[in-house]
């Protein structure tokens, strides 16, 4: 078991006091941001990205791991107590989770969610340890045509599956791709779309785009509605914040099933964990119907346990896919990929050989992060809920300040601040008109990879397009793409045809 030895080495590296501190800070910040309404882990990572550049890569990624999982833990806290999910992955948790709160079982719901997230994350991390190196071995054979196929799959899947409309998803993707072509072309050295402005020679910084779309865009979106809406009511919760033996027995199978449903979705680029959480929820409900005393609709503990486990399992294996293939499957993973690049590291098969220390320390810190998060969340979830008492005007004004800080800290350029304002406004428009945001991030991050892969493939084949579908791997990937499209078309048709009541 070579993986286990490497993991042990990683654990030893991660368990230094300084690194433990970074895990703790990451987990702490992640939970805090997750708990706050409207903020999810992608925004937390976007805001932290610029700040972490002053750290060494290991510390930065350890912190990201904490933030990444922490955001998911926090999201469900609000979903359960206020019925406001912090992100789309926590929506499925609101259904039965909030019903549990309404029936006076809030603390148990929080405990169920925290343990579920832990179980899901744990399973996913184990899978990463066992399979990521194998995936990396497979990915070593990838050439430009395979990377192109992978990028195209990621583009189309994120743009179509989560979006309510095909045009909206693709438009969002194209915004991202267009941002990515600005700047000097890496292959030929030609200036592209800069119109002579030297500020654009290096392209638009990924930080400007992430902060603009994910953070400042959210601030503007809230500003456009804040005076016309009221925040949800926080339910007072009292009682034991742990589970009885019977409750554990009830929830345990659902944790397991949820984690198993969620894990494969980490490597499927459909824009995050929304789909697996709903699948896990739906599956539990179908099983529940067959029981003697169905619990769904009354605050079923299984209806909360399964999506929580699924969400974190997806998030965990997504890190594996990112490390082994360089394939981001959600907006948050896309930002982490960007972070790797800022350190001059390219996630993918070579990372496992070139920076094995970093990879295994990061994987080890996933385990440590989960334990820290369980400790932070299981007993203290009701305390975290108090964070929502921060008035919204302070919260979002503060986020705007951190947006400005992050952008300025990386470039020290006022032009970047103007640019982020414009992109923030675009982010607002996309939210206002219900365009998905994940495709834009995937487009920005994978756009250059897709372009260089396409051009290199065609260069080496002398312009023969057949090279793009020449290998078994790329044909398989395109077949998966066709499956995704068939699924989307079927779903649309079904939604229309089933309306027969």
């Amino acid at each position: 078991m070579e993986s286990l030895n490497l993991l042990a080495g990683g654990l030893a590296d991660a368990l230094t006091p300084m690194n433990l501190l970074w895990v703790f800070i990451g987990a702490f910040l992640g939970t805090a941001v997750g708990v706050l309404p409207g903020l999810g882990s992608s925004m937390a990572v976007a805001l932290l990205l610029p700040v972490t550049f002053t750290l060494d890569p290991t510390a930065a990624f350890i912190m990201f791991a904490g933030v990444y999982f922490g955001g998911l833990f926090g999201d469900s806290t609000m979903a359960i107590l206020v019925n406001t999910p912090g992100g789309s992955t926590a929506i499925a948790s609101t259904f039965e989770g909030h019903r549990m709160t309404l029936t006076g079982r809030g603390p148990q719901a929080l405990a169920t969610a925290a343990i579920g997230a832990f179980v899901g994350g744990l399973l996913a991390s184990v899978i990463v340890v066992l399979f990521a190196p194998k995936l990396a071995d497979l990915a070593v054979n990838f050439g430009p045509p395979e990377y192109l196929a992978l990028s195209v799959l990621a583009f189309v899947a994120t743009a179509t599956v989560v979006s309510t409309s095909l045009a909206k998803g693709l438009a969002s993707l194209v915004f991202g791709l267009t941002f990515a072509v600005i700047g000097i072309d890496g292959i030929s050295g030609a200036q592209r779309f800069t119109f002579g402005a030297p500020q654009l020679f290096d392209g638009i910084s990924i930080i400007v785009i992430t902060v603009g779309v994910l953070a400042l865009g959210e601030v503007f979106h809230v500003a456009s509605r804040v005076r016309r809406t009221r925040p949800g009511r926080l339910h007072k919760i009292t009682g034991r914040p742990y589970l009885s033996r019977a409750e554990v027995r009830e929830a345990a199978p659902a944790w397991g099933r949820g984690a198993l449903i969620g894990a494969p979705f980490g490597v499927i680029p459909v824009g995050g964990a929304e789909i697996p959480t709903f699948l896990a929820y739906g599956g539990e409900r179908a099983l529940d119907r067959r029981r003697k005393h169905p619990q769904f609709g009354k605050g079923a503990i299984r209806g909360l346990a399964a999506p929580e486990a699924a969400g974190n399992a997806t998030a965990g294996t997504a890190i594996g896919a990112l490390l082994a293939m360089g394939l981001p499957t959600s907006a948050t993973a896309a930002i982490m990929l960007a972070a790797f690049r800022q350190y001059g590291l390219q996630p993918g098969p070579l990372l496992f050989t070139r920076s094995a220390d970093l990879v295994w320390t990061l994987i080890a810190s996933l385990f440590i992060g989960l334990v820290v998060l369980l400790v932070l969340n299981l007993p203290f979830a009701p305390l975290w809920a108090k964070l929502t008492k921060i008035p919204r005007h302070y919260l979002y004004a503060g986020i705007a300040v951190f947006c400005g800080l992050g952008v300025y800290a990386t470039s020290a350029a006022v032009t970047d601040l103007i640019l982020v304002l414009g992109i923030g406004f675009l982010g607002f428009l996309l939210r206002r008109y219900d365009f998905p945001l994940a495709p834009i991030m995937i487009g920005v991050v994978l756009g250059p990879l897709a372009e260089t892969s396409l051009r290199n493939a065609l260069l080496s084949s002398g312009g023969d397009y057949g090279v793009l579908v020449d290998s078994g791997i790329s044909v398989t990937i395109y077949a998966a793409l066709v499956l995704v499209l068939v699924f989307v078309a079927y779903r649309g048709l079904r939604a229309r045809a089933a309306r027969d009541v």
Binding site: N83, P85, I91, A92, T94, F95, H98, R99, L102, G232, F278, Y281, G282, R285, R289, P294, F296, G297, K298, L493, R494, A497, A498, R499, D500, V501
Partner: protein
Amino acid sequence: MTVMVAYSHTDEGMVALEKARDAADRLQAPVVVFDLESPSKSADRRIALPEDAQKGERWLGPAHTAPAPVEDLLDTAREIDVALIVVGIRRRSPVGKLILGSQAQSIILGADVPVLSVKASGADA
């Protein structure tokens, strides 16, 4: 003791609503209209009353985040303890139902209280 009607903005939905009102009258029970096509934003699933709503009726809709409105209907039915669900149905081929699904069928199969199914007049439509 409540009568719930699975309502959608179709002929079948209208007929179901009428039947539900009749049935509720006879049972002396209140009517809850669950409008499958009007997502609700509030926690108690209330939606704005339409013009043709009658006095004493409660109008609900699926949570706007719910992936499957029918499932939400069934959960809500259990939550508020209804005694009878009324659905309007349309004739469809078994194969069509198999491949494309049917909301009416899901309600009939999934409910654990009696379901009264009614056809719109000229039921072949």
